[in-house]
């Protein structure tokens, strides 16, 4: 009975043993396994463990971990350095994200035109992206050095005084932001260049024949067609700005007086310098929630105005 039923259901599978068919979903899972394994081990499991840890106090020596409930979160709300790191990070994002996107777009528009040495210009703009952060940081530390640094030497020519750019709490964060913009803009430029080359020239010509000048063509045709790229780049830039840690470690170590402490750096410091790992987990969880919410808002608000082809 069963054999006859199977035969009527499938033309090719009439002679195949039933085990073969059971294997199909199994095979799918096997194919997924390598990627899934890495995701679980390095992303999903640590995330879950981090969230769980954030409700406990860090064990010390022989003292086992004790359940904290919301106590760590309450401590976080009262932690002035957390608030400073958050403020620093918000300012860092608010400046570096828009500025690097606008610069990237400007560089892409420029190097997409018919200019001399176009390939060289593109390479020059992209070069900072290729440098490792440690290398870039050291170049810029030299630029920023008081008196001997490039910036002060140029400043001296115009009669400016001596500045310890990275040592002054008022200028240190700004100095970091300049490096971030310098490093990111060239990377985002590549995405804009690719997007610009996807726009058919006839669209621009049509706009011109309809009487649009270069400015109107940019605002009414080019920019709207670049919106998917802008959204993509924007989300990436925002996440990057909340992920910065190498730059802080290699340039300022969060100082002076926490003026350049950013959230992930503070997590790193808490967990691996002060070894209060469970409090570090608490900060991480808050950061995760915040970033998730931010990306969601970005897609929801911004995404509606994006035209996908």
């Amino acid at each position: 009975m069963a054999g006859a039923h199977r035969q009527s259901g499938s033309v090719a599978g009439g002679t195949a043993p039933p085990a073969h068919r059971l294997a199909a979903p199994m095979q799918n899972w096997l194919m997924l396994l390598p990627a899934l394994l890495f995701l679980v081990v390095f992303t999903i499991a640590p995330t879950i463990v981090t969230i769980i840890d954030s409700f406990w106090f860090t064990p010390h020596g022989a003292k086992a971990a004790t359940f904290a409930g919301m106590a760590q979160y309450e401590a976080l709300l009262a932690d002035p350095i957390f608030w400073q790191a958050l403020r620093n990070n918000l300012l860092y994002a608010a400046v570096t994200v828009p500025v690097s996107i606008i610069l990237a777009l400007a560089m892409a528009l420029w190097t997409n035109g018919r200019i001399k040495g176009r390939a060289f210009m593109r390479l020059a703009f992209f070069l900072p992206t290729m440098l490792p952060m440690i290398g870039a940081a050291n170049i810029w530390i030299y630029f920023y050095t008081a008196d001997y640094g490039l910036i002060d030497q140029i400043g001296h020519l115009f009669g400016a005084g001596s500045h310890n750019w990275l040592g002054n709490p008022h200028t240190a964060l700004g100095a970091l932001m300049v490096v971030a913009i310098w490093k990111e803009a060239g990377f985002f430029m590549v995405f804009y260049l690719a997007a610009l080359q996807q726009i058919p020239p006839s669209l621009i010509e049509a706009a011109q024949l309809e009487g649009a000048n270069a400015w109107q063509t940019f605002w009414r045709v080019t920019l709207p067609l670049l919106m998917p790229t802008t959204l993509f780049v924007g989300v990436n830039a925002l996440i990057n700005s909340f992920r910065v840690v190498d730059q802080v470690i290699s340039m300022t170590g969060g100082g002076p007086d926490n003026a350049t402490s950013l959230l992930i750096f503070y997590v790193y410091q808490t967990a691996f310098s002060f070894w209060d790992t469970y409090y570090g987990a608490t900060i991480s969880t808050v950061l995760l929630l915040g970033l998730g919410l931010l990306s969601f808002l970005q897609f929801a608000l911004f995404g509606r105005r994006v035209h996908y082809r």
Partner: protein, 352 residues
């Protein structure tokens, strides 16, 4: 107002002269089709008229005014692109009124013109859609709408039908022709499709290698092709050519040895006859017509005949034609020779 004139236009890309000393005039309200094989310079010619490219030398006049060097947007022309060039992020209404809003035409006037154009082209139901949600034919209509809404007296079209399927192409052909007549616009229409040229044009400008090969009405080009190139380009299937260097049975006494004779497939009549000199090689049934390929000596001739008269492959046949239907060309230059060269022979020449 809407006349267009090109005076000795030249445009070269590197050593390649794409438009090579071209002069012509289009009268107001005339439908001119610029026809030619790909790479003949027809699109470049249109871009010069549109102001998208500047000529190396020569002048362009629109409505009598010299517009050489004037930006395209100030030439009083509208253009339909081959790819339609619709703005994908704008809906149909915004696409059509794009130019009007750029030119700061008042909203009320914009709405009025949009209504007029969308009624004219049956776009009323599509105004809120994005181009991506439209079929090829609908997109084509929107592109037409954007060109018409400007109410310019001159309209340029660059192969506007080439991306559509055959049925739609045929429909839009007559529709565009009717619109052009109704609105009285001067239309310059670029295509590589001879059927489009024949069916739509008041006059056809046939280009070859950047030069004008012939300019005239579709009938003039078809009935009196100025060269072998024109004769071959217009008409489907193409004209048969018989090189008179060799003695071809039945063509004795026609023209001279330096000439090539041309005969349209519809000008030959085929009669099956066991003593016929021709032999049927292939037969292509097209419904109303049947295209029969015959071998005559060294030559192959295509004959268009009624679809009911099927011919057996391998059968012998007699070919009849009126000597007056023969076109004579100089074999070397390809140029047409006048009719008096033709040896007057009795009507209904029979080849046996």
């Amino acid at each position: 107002m809407g006349s267009v004139a090109a005076e000795d236009l030249v445009k070269a890309y590197g050593p390649n002269r794409v438009v090579d000393h071209i002069s012509f005039k289009v009268a107001e309200g005339e439908f001119l089709v610029v026809l030619g094989p790909s790479g003949c310079g027809k699109s470049t010619l249109l871009r010069l008229i549109a102001g998208l490219d500047d000529p190396d030398s020569g002048k362009i006049r629109i409505g009598g005014r010299d517009v050489t060097g004037v930006p395209g947007s100030e030439r009083g022309i509208a253009m339909v692109f081959q790819s339609y060039a619709l703005f994908p992020h704008l809906n149909v209404a915004e696409n059509i009124t794009f130019g009007l809003s750029i030119r700061r035409i008042a909203a009320a006037e914009r709405a009025k013109r949009l209504k007029r154009v969308s009624e004219l082209l049956n776009l009323g139901a599509l105004l809120d859609r994005k181009p991506g949600q439209l079929s090829g034919g609908q997109q084509q209509r929107v592109a037409l709408g954007r060109a018409l809404v400007a109410e310019t007296s001159v309209c340029l079209m660059d192969e506007p039908l080439s991306n559509l399927d055959a049925q739609l192409r045929a429909d839009l052909r007559s529709e565009i022709r009717a619109l052009q007549q109704r609105l009285g616009i001067t239309l310059i229409f670029v295509t590589h499709d001879q059927a489009e040229a024949m069916s739509m044009a008041d006059r056809v400008l046939l280009l070859r290698g950047g030069k004008i090969e012939q300019l005239g009405t579709p009938h003039q080009l078809y009935a009196h092709p100025g060269s072998i190139f024109v004769a071959r380009f217009l008409g489907s299937p193409a004209m048969n050519f018989i090189d008179l260097t060799e003695n071809v049975p039945g063509f004795e006494g026609i023209g001279e040895r330096t000439m090539t004779a041309g005969l349209r497939p519809e000008d030959i009549r085929l009669t099956l006859h066991e003593n016929g000199m021709a032999q049927v090689e292939a037969s292509e049934y097209l419904g109303a017509d049947c295209l029969v390929t015959c071998r005559l000596g060294e030559n192959r001739l295509t004959i268009r005949q009624n679809g009911r008269n099927a011919a057996q492959i391998g059968a012998r046949a007699q070919l009849n034609f009126d000597p007056a239907a023969i076109h004579l060309f100089d074999t070397k230059t390809g140029q047409r020779l006048h009719a008096d060269v033709r040896n007057a022979r009795k009507a209904h020449e029979i080849i046996t």
